[in-house]
């Protein structure tokens, strides 16, 4: 059986909430949420968008070296992030600020990284949220190995066990590491969920350069399920990720989730998207905004009062303000940070260098 790339019809996109805010049902992805839970998802998205915007502003003002904005990807990140259990471990790229938020990692930690105060510096175990990975694709192997560790801990496959959830982008799917992680996950049937945020771009490189068929189909080539979900639909992202995590927990192995979304801003604050025709698309994507559609649903069905929206906006502003203040108050790291975090056990050669540099610095005092 062969497949002609040019006749591939775009197949089912899981959607539970239309851009107009209409609620849909899907047999494979039943989802029942309380009104409170729905409002919480809305608040999450509004808050992270505000925090992200604040970080962009701080970068413009020279307080951060760089910021990769998540604008437009709030639903993909909040939906998947809220599907996680306490014992699960997330392996993010450098853009999963909303997932960090959902895991309870204070975003100041992320700002520290982009301010150049440290390289991440948080403890992954504390919030079940691994360090940001900047080298594209590397984290997919870490997540798969971590999942192999879960299998070896025992109690796995009972449904109560842990799982690993790894994020990566459309561009990352071209990296050898990502494909090797598919090989490993399939071979060991590891409890890992591969969550690909297809935001249509890898910096200036459009999706078409990386693949000529929908990315979720990559999984078929490795013998495990691939699912395509509307990445701007927070409910669908939640339901699809939940199911994938459940498959992992119950010993049914890995799943690839392709969340079809859009990077509504620049790649990072140093990028100039006007050079590669990114803006043309914005018109088609703006109506699909992840926040407005949930707001429409909440309002139309009276699940939230006008006050709620105002309160949420005010809350978000306060959070953003607090983040800014904390960021500006960050002290620079002392030179000792250079030497003291490299090795767990003493390393004589590095100690010699530290001693020499200390006495060099002393010469200036």
């Amino acid at each position: 059986m062969t497949l002609d790339a040019h006749t591939v019809q775009d197949t089912e996109l899981i959607q539970l909430l239309t851009p107009e805010g209409e609620r849909l049902e899907h047999p494979d992805y039943p989802l029942t949420l309380t009104d409170q839970q729905l409002r919480d998802l809305y608040r999450d998205m509004v808050v992270v968008r505000a925090l992200d915007g604040e970080a962009v502003a701080l970068t413009r003002q020279g307080e951060l070296g760089l910021w990769p904005s998540l604008l437009g990807q709030e639903a993909a990140q909040v939906g998947s992030g809220r599907a996680l259990g306490a014992g699960d471990m997330v392996f993010p790229t450098y853009r999963e600020h909303a997932v960090a938020y959902c895991r309870g990692l204070p975003l100041l930690n992320v700002l520290k990284l982009f301010r150049g105060v440290d390289l991440g510096g948080w403890d992954p175990k504390e919030h079940g949220f691994h360090l940001y990975s900047i080298v594209i694709g590397t984290q997919t192997l870490h997540a798969t190995g971590y999942a192999m560790g879960i299998q070896r801990d025992g109690g796995h496959g009972t449904g109560i066990g842990d799982a690993a959830l790894v994020y990566f982008g459309d561009g990352a799917t071209s990296q050898g590491d990502v494909n090797e992680s598919f090989v490993w996950a399939a071979s060991y049937n590891a409890p890992v969920v591969f969550f690909c945020q297809n935001n249509q771009w890898a910096i200036s490189t459009p999706l078409e350069r990386q693949t000529r068929i929908p990315l979720y189909r990559r999984a078929q080539g490795f013998g495990f399920p691939g699912v395509r979900v509307d990445g701007n639909d927070v409910l669908a992202c939640l339901a699809v990720t939940r199911r994938a995590l459940d498959l992992a927990r119950t010993g049914r192995g890995p799943t690839l989730v392709e969340a079809v979304t859009h990077r509504m801003g620049a790649h990072t604050t140093t990028d100039d998207p006007s050079r590669y025709g990114h803006s043309e698309e914005l018109e088609t994507w703006r109506p699909k905004d992840p926040i407005s559609r949930l707001r429409a649903y909440l309002s139309r069905d009276g699940l939230a009062s006008p006050d709620f929206f105002d309160e949420t906006d005010a809350h978000a502003k306060r959070e953003a303000r607090a983040l800014r203040d904390a960021c500006l108050a960050l002290p620079d790291p002392p030179p000792a940070e250079l030497f003291d975090r490299v090795y767990a056990a003493p390393h004589s050669t590095l100690e010699e260098e530290k001693a020499a540099y200390d006495s060099y610095l002393a010469g200036f005092r």
């Binding site: 390289l119 071209s174 890898a202 910096i203 050079r275």
Partner: protein, 333 residues
């Protein structure tokens, strides 16, 4: 359009623009020359070094690739086997490692494997070094890995004129060349005269003559050393600065001639001193100038740590003070 393209006149260019001009010239001179990498086409590269080249030479010759460094270098080898001269861009120093296998086991070794039947005129451009306040993996200096890899040529440009000439010479070279570009000097300006006589690739130059001590540097540290020499002069010390330009091959005669004259030598690079290329320079100079040396060759460079967060990079990177401190130590030996 290619035939009639006029050779650019002598003008003041940034290092980035000089590379751009050199690449444009190479693309115009030889239809087999290709430029490939992540975002090199429509965007013109994250540093704009390839700005406008795709527009001018087309998508078939200035190629936006999928996101994978091994794929970029591996397919460049294949293109070279079919008679092309690909110039690959690695977007940042820290991202060359996924391509390490293709560079070290294939690009470097294929000519020897074929007893000379196969030539691989492939250039791997790597923006390198720190000092730009970047995040992790964007400020590294991996030259030692490649200088130790036989079969490669490894060069580093330090100023716009060299950038313009060396990139064209690297592309014309029948052997694979790893080409380091000093990121933080991309915006430095200087006069570039395309009608001038170019220094051969592989030759070191005395960037500033002096009599008391020799500083050996390449890439981004050449400017730092020139500044240190200037400062030292004010304390009445005559410091010679040698810009190596090429690490493999190494222009040993030029280096030895200088150190034999001055009797003192300090090596400066951004990469960690430990196991770095400075060890080769120090060992070589000492072996050949043993009786000329008034003091051991001293090395100034990064520490044996990963590249630190940017708020610490001023401690990590050699600066004027650390270079002068080493110079002082060679005199107080």
């Amino acid at each position: 359009m290619i035939e009639t393209m006029p050779r650019p006149r002598s003008e003041t260019l940034t290092l980035a623009k000089a590379l751009n001009q050199g690449l444009r010239q190479a693309l115009a001179d030889d239809p087999k020359v290709l430029v490939m990498g992540e975002d090199v086409g429509r965007l013109g590269g994250v540093f704009r070094v390839t700005d406008g080249l795709q527009k001018e030479f087309g998508e078939e010759r200035v190629i936006d690739t999928p996101l994978a460094e091994s794929g970029i270098v591996g397919t460049a080898i294949g293109l070279a086997l079919r008679g092309y001269r690909p110039v690959c861009e690695i977007q940042f120093d820290g991202f060359v490692f996924p391509a390490a296998d293709q560079i070290i086991t294939q690009l470097a070794k294929m000519r020897m494997r074929s007893r000379g039947a196969v030539e691989l005129p492939v250039v791997v451009r790597i923006p390198c070094g720190g000092g730009i306040g970047a995040v992790e993996h964007h400020s590294e200096s991996p030259e030692a890995y490649f200088a130790h890899t036989a079969g490669l040529r490894v060069v580093a440009c330090a100023n716009p004129a060299d950038a313009y000439w060396m990139i064209q010479q690297a592309i014309a070279c029948p052997d694979p060349v790893v080409f380091f570009e000093p990121k933080r000097r991309y915006w430095d300006k200087a006069q570039v005269d395309p009608t001038a006589e170019a220094v051969p690739l592989g030759r070191a130059v005395v960037a500033r003559p002096g009599t008391d001590v020799t500083l050996l540097a390449y890439g981004p540290m050449v400017k730092t050393c020139l500044e240190a020499a200037q400062a030292a002069q004010e304390d009445g010390r005559s410091v010679e600065v040698v810009d190596l330009r090429s690490l493999s091959p190494l222009d040993t005669p030029t280096i030895l001639e200088s150190v034999r004259r001055t009797g003192r030598c300090v090596v400066v690079h951004e990469a960690p001193v430990f196991g770095g290329f400075g060890g080769e320079l120090a060992a070589r100079v000492t072996e050949h100038c043993f009786y000329h040396l008034e003091a051991p060759v001293l090395r100034v460079g990064g520490f044996a740590t990963p590249y630190p967060p940017s708020r610490l990079e001023d401690h990590y990177l050699p600066d004027l003070d650390r270079v002068l401190d080493a110079v002082d130590r060679t005199f107080s030996w």
